[in-house]
């Protein structure tokens, strides 16, 4: 079945530093989405990016479909960026299943 691996598992940054989160998946993705979750909160969609590069605010996602990987770059991190970032993908087929990675826990310190 579909598998999604995220790295690093956790990351600690000082405010203002940049972050690079990685996502690798076991099969070709027809759907690739990055989510953010604050502790105890729901999932917020950050970027939908099955291929190519997309930007929103301080976030940039690059997905290389043939290499089965995606990255999320956070520039000039802020304390409020702290939380867990999930990558999720769907490879198509008869099962409408979005498979999630285990997430990257980001902590931004003053």
């Amino acid at each position: 079945g579909q598998q999604v691996q995220q790295s690093p598992a956790s990351l600690v940054l000082q405010e203002g530093e940049n972050a690079e989160l990685q996502c690798n998946f076991s099969s070709t993705a027809t759907q690739l989405q990055w989510f953010y979750q604050r502790p105890g909160g729901s999932l917020v969609s950050l970027l939908y990016n099955p291929s190519g590069t997309k930007h929103t605010g301080r976030l940039t996602s690059t997905t290389v479909t043939k290499e089965r990987r995606s990255s999320l770059h956070i520039s000039s991190s802020q304390i409020t960026d702290s939380g867990t970032y999930f990558c999720a993908m769907d490879s198509g087929g008869s099962n409408y299943k979005l498979t999630f990675g285990k997430g990257t826990l980001l902590t931004v310190t003053p």
């Binding site: 027809t30 759907q31 989405q33 989510f35 105890g40 909160g41 729901s42 999932l43 917020v44 969609s45 939908y48 099955p50 999930f86 999720a88 769907d90 198509g92 099962n95 409408y96 299943k97 979005l98 498979t99 999630f100 990675g101 285990k102 997430g103």
Partner: protein, 113 residues
């Protein structure tokens, strides 16, 4: 604008008791609907999906069931709760499959005691 509403916000239930969680999507016609479960500190696992009224497909067996009685409503239920059912339940929707984002509700936190 589309809205997704989940109820209740939180529940504390006894082992062996029944459960019913609900989700309503407004502002979108015939959405695809999904139920996800998240153990504390864990990743998300898809439980069910539905692409049309009255049709629900199970993705993983957790002694839970789901129904879609109306186009905009998705219900998750069980007759007997287990301790392992504790966690965070999230309803989600998308317009279609293949080239659309998935959006999540605010979730229901369930504690089984």
């Amino acid at each position: 604008a589309q809205t997704i509403h989940q109820w209740p916000v939180a529940e504390i239930k006894a082992v062996g008791s029944p459960l019913s969680l609900g989700c309503t999507i407004k502002g979108k016609s015939s959405p695809n609907l999904y139920w996800y479960w998240q153990a504390t500190g864990g990743t998300l696992q898809q439980l069910f999906y539905s692409i049309t009224v009255g049709q629900v497909e199970s993705v993983v067996q957790l002694n839970l069931s789901a129904s879609r009685p109306k186009d905009d409503q998705f219900i998750l239920s069980t007759e007997k709760l287990l301790l392992s059912h504790s966690g965070f339940y999230l309803c989600a929707w998308s317009l279609d499959r293949g080239d659309t984002e998935v959006f999540f509700g605010k979730g229901t936190r369930l504690t089984v005691v």
